[in-house]
Subunit: 120 residues, 2 copies
C-alpha cells in the first residue's frame, strides 16, 4: 500500500528521484527510488534531513507559527519536499533541480492523509 | 543599506511579516518587522530556524545535493523562506499563510547577491 502511493507520486512528478515514508527517527517504512545509481545519495540525504523535521516542528509550535505543514529544501542539484503525515511519520520526495515541484507538492498533499489512515 | 533592502522586500510582498539579514550564528544584522505586536513571535522563530540552516547546508553538501539555495518552512500560520547570502549570512522572510510566497521567493533571490556584496 505504501509502495503503491510512493510509486504513484514518483510516476506523477517529472524529475522525481525518490519518495519515502519515514519515521521521525529516520527509519524508512518504505522507499521508492527511480535512479538508485544516481550521483546524489538520496536515501542517505533523506535520513539526514529527517533529523531536522522534529526540530522544525517543535520550533514552529513553540513560537505560535502552528503545525508544520511542509518543509522544502532546494539545493543546486535537487529539491526535497517533506510533509508530516502524523506525529510519528513523514512523507518526503526528492526531485531534480529542473523537475516539477508544484506537482510534487500537490501529490504529497493528496497522499499524506491517505497514508495517515494506513499508519494509524 | 540592509534596512533599505529589507524594507523593499517587505513592501513588495503581500502578507510579509518580517525580513532579516542574520548571521549563521543567529545574530541578526538587521531586521524589518511589519507587525511587531502580532501573535507569532517572528523574531524568535527566525533565530530558532537559524540553527537549522548550517545543519541543512552541511547535509546537502555531504550527499552531493550541492550548495543550499533555499529553505522554506510552511506552517499553519506563516511561511518562512530562508536564502543563504554567503558562507556566514542568510536572508529570511516570514510571510502570512495567505501571503504571496512566489513574490517573496523572487525578491530574496534578487536581493541576496546585492547583500552579499555589502557583507563581503
Amino acid at each position: 500500500m505504501f509502495a503503491e502511493s510512493l510509486r504513484t507520486i514518483c510516476a506523477g512528478v517529472q524529475g522525481a528521484l525518490a519518495a519515502t515514508v519515514m519515521g521521525m527517527d529516520g527509519l524508512a517504512v518504505d522507499t521508492h527510488e527511480i535512479e538508485p545509481e544516481g550521483e546524489v545519495d538520496v536515501s542517505s540525504l533523506l535520513i539526514e534531513y529527517s533529523t531536522l523535521i522534529s526540530q522544525v516542528r517543535r520550533s514552529a509550535q513553540m513560537f505560535a507559527a502552528g503545525q508544520l505543514e511542509e518543509l522544502s529544501i532546494r539545493s543546486e542539484h535537487l529539491t526535497t519536499i517533506i510533509r508530516p503525515v502524523n506525529q510519528d511519520y513523514f512523507l518526503a520526495l526528492a526531485v531534480r533541480a529542473d523537475g516539477n515541484l508544484g506537482k510534487g507538492r500537490y501529490l504529497l498533499r493528496i497522499h499524506a492523509p491517505k497514508l495517515a489512515k494506513e499508519l494509524s
